[in-house]
């Protein structure tokens, strides 16, 4: 299986006022094509920061990162085609409130269309077909003409998912897609995301702080705490003790201070 995500010795620290979320420390992991991976961990563990990095929107990090074969550089954004290949479902949906549902979903196509045609509002067949397919999958086809600011929270989330699917991404990143939902709806949404991803032969990485859902919908679970990877297991091999330890109430996690070699000898 080919590798979709490959990151090594990755670190990120806040610099001054740069308030881009929690820091990451020396992270190494890889994700293969077709996997569904859950990032599990308490608030502030660095889940969003890691997803933002994979989306190519984080600056000033150190280490090595390759996503879908494109090497990410800390200084600048990845090329347009590469960004279009990675879809991101935002926790707060990040929709254009005054635009229609259809327009918001079509916005997911903007990385795939010619800039000047898109500026003039011209749609090609591929764009409209992808948008209709995505809206149908997300169950919001009948809302196409409604303005987003007239929708409920649940409907908005489906618009955000449809925008990501319309992008026809090869890697889908979802930031806390179910944090604000009741258990039944949470399952519906994760089912929608993971099955749409499978149907496209895409890879999924989603973050959550609900271990049960992570277990059900992911083939592999990565535990993050205080910006470090605590465990990285296939879902079947994950023990309840490991999850309990991940969410253990304590101040900062114990920093792993390397003992100087001289003292050991």
């Amino acid at each position: 299986m080919s590798t979709v995500v490959d990151i090594a010795e990755l670190s990120f620290h806040h610099s001054g006022e740069n308030d881009a979320g929690p820091a990451l420390t020396d992270i190494t992991l890889s994700v293969s094509a077709g996997e569904a991976v859950a990032l599990l961990g308490p608030s502030g563990a660095g889940k969003t920061t890691l997803l933002t990095l994979l989306d190519g929107r984080l600056r000033d990090w150190r280490g090595h990162a390759r996503v879908l074969g494109v090497v990410l550089a800390p200084g600048n954004a990845p090329p347009r085609e590469a960004r279009a290949d990675v879809g991101f479902i935002f926790q707060e949906f990040a929709l254009v409130e005054r635009s229609s549902v259809a327009r918001n979903v079509l916005n997911g196509r903007l990385g795939r269309t010619d800039t000047w045609r898109a500026l003039c509002g011209l749609l090609n067949k591929e764009d409209s077909m992808a948008a209709v397919r995505a809206m149908t999958e997300a169950g919001i086809a009948d809302l196409a003409d409604r303005r987003v600011d007239s929708l409920s929270g649940g409907q908005r989330q489906r618009v955000a998912i449809a925008r990501c699917l319309a992008q026809e991404p090869r890697l889908i990143l979802a930031d806390e897609p179910v944090s604000s939902l009741d258990p039944v709806r949470a399952e519906d949404i994760l089912e929608l995301i993971t099955s749409a991803s499978r149907a496209r032969g895409s890879t999924t990485v989603f973050s959550s702080h609900q271990p049960d859902l992570a277990r059900r919908f992911a083939s592999r679970v990565i535990g993050l705490r205080g910006g470090c990877v605590v465990f990285d297991r296939p879902t079947d091999a994950l023990t309840n003790d490991e999850i309990a330890e991940l969410y253990r109430e304590s101040a900062a996690p114990q920093p792993r201070v390397p003992v100087p070699l001289r003292l050991v000898l």
């Binding site: 989306d55 190519g56 929107r57 954004a77 347009r80 085609e81 590469a82 960004r83 279009a84 990675v86 879809g87 991101f88 935002f90 707060e92 949906f93 990040a94 929709l95 254009v96 409130e97 005054r98 635009s99 327009r103 916005n107 997911g108 196509r109 903007l110 990385g111 795939r112 800039t115 898109a118 500026l119 925008r163 992008q167």
Partner: protein
């Protein structure tokens, strides 16, 4: 502490009283002149009645010209304010540039319209053209600032979402920034148009076109009944435009 505060407020009141007394001293506000002004004003007003509506053609000609000055002046201000607004936006432009552009806009705002109009009459001659240029220039000071604020108040998240989808800067501007700022821009522009119309009513007094020319002509030649008709027309026009604006702004909410 309390004592100090009491002294502070006493000092403030004394200062204000001092300023008011100083103002009386430096103008010729004499009590007998103020008392005799009553009957004079009454006589002046009586000469305005009944208003002479025979000047209707001049009123129509003057007010359409004022309306045209306001419309074209606003158009000019919009054209100037779009690039200046972008340059004055904190979220779009480097600090050195946006601070300089904001200072420039503040400077433009500080110059009264009537002064700009007088300078423009000197530069391009009498008529509506100097009026249009003056309105466009003066209004840019406010509109450019408003546009910059509209850009800065745009929510960041949808812009990030479009960047994530692979949209370049132009497409982000078109599909994430513009839909958010368009209603604000429309509201600000309508508001500025109303101000432009009110302010351009007096442009004719300095020869920069519009209905102000007739007000000045009739008052200077003591034809107060005709001046009264023009005043009524001006009041009517302002009320109508204001009502229209209220209705438009409600639709944009």
């Amino acid at each position: 502490m309390i004592r100090a505060n009491a002294w502070g407020s006493f000092a403030t009141s004394s200062l204000i009283a001092g300023i008011v007394i100083w103002s009386f001293g430096t103008t010729e506000v004499e009590p007998d002149r103020l008392l005799s002004a009553g009957p004079r004003i009454a006589e002046f007003i009586s000469r305005m009645f009944p208003p002479d509506f025979s000047v209707m053609p001049q009123i129509i000609k003057g007010s359409t010209e004022t309306l045209r000055i306001a419309i074209l002046g606003t158009l000019g201000a919009v054209i100037l304010s779009l690039p200046l607004g972008i340059l004055a936006a904190e979220t779009m432009t480097p600090a050195a540039v946006y601070r300089a552009v904001r200072a420039l806009l503040a400077l433009i705002r500080a110059i009264p319209l009537i002064l700009v109009a007088m300078l423009m009459v000197g530069a391009v001659g009498l008529g509506p053209l100097p009026g249009i240029i003056a309105v466009a220039f003066h209004a840019t000071g406010m509109l450019g600032k408003f546009y910059a604020e509209a850009i800065d108040n745009v929510s960041r998240a949808p812009v990030d979402a479009l960047e994530s989808a692979g949209a370049g800067p132009l497409l982000r501007l078109r599909y994430a920034v513009w839909p958010q700022m368009a209603p604000v821009v429309a509201r600000d522009t309508i508001f500025r148009f109303e101000l432009n119309l009110r302010e351009s009513l007096v442009l004719g007094i300095v020869g920069a076109g519009g209905i102000g020319f007739y007000i000045q002509t009739y008052v200077r030649s003591f034809q107060y009944d005709k001046a009264a008709s023009v005043t009524l027309a001006v009041v009517l026009m302002v009320l109508v435009i204001e009502a229209l604006n209220v209705a438009l702004r409600r639709r944009l909410a």
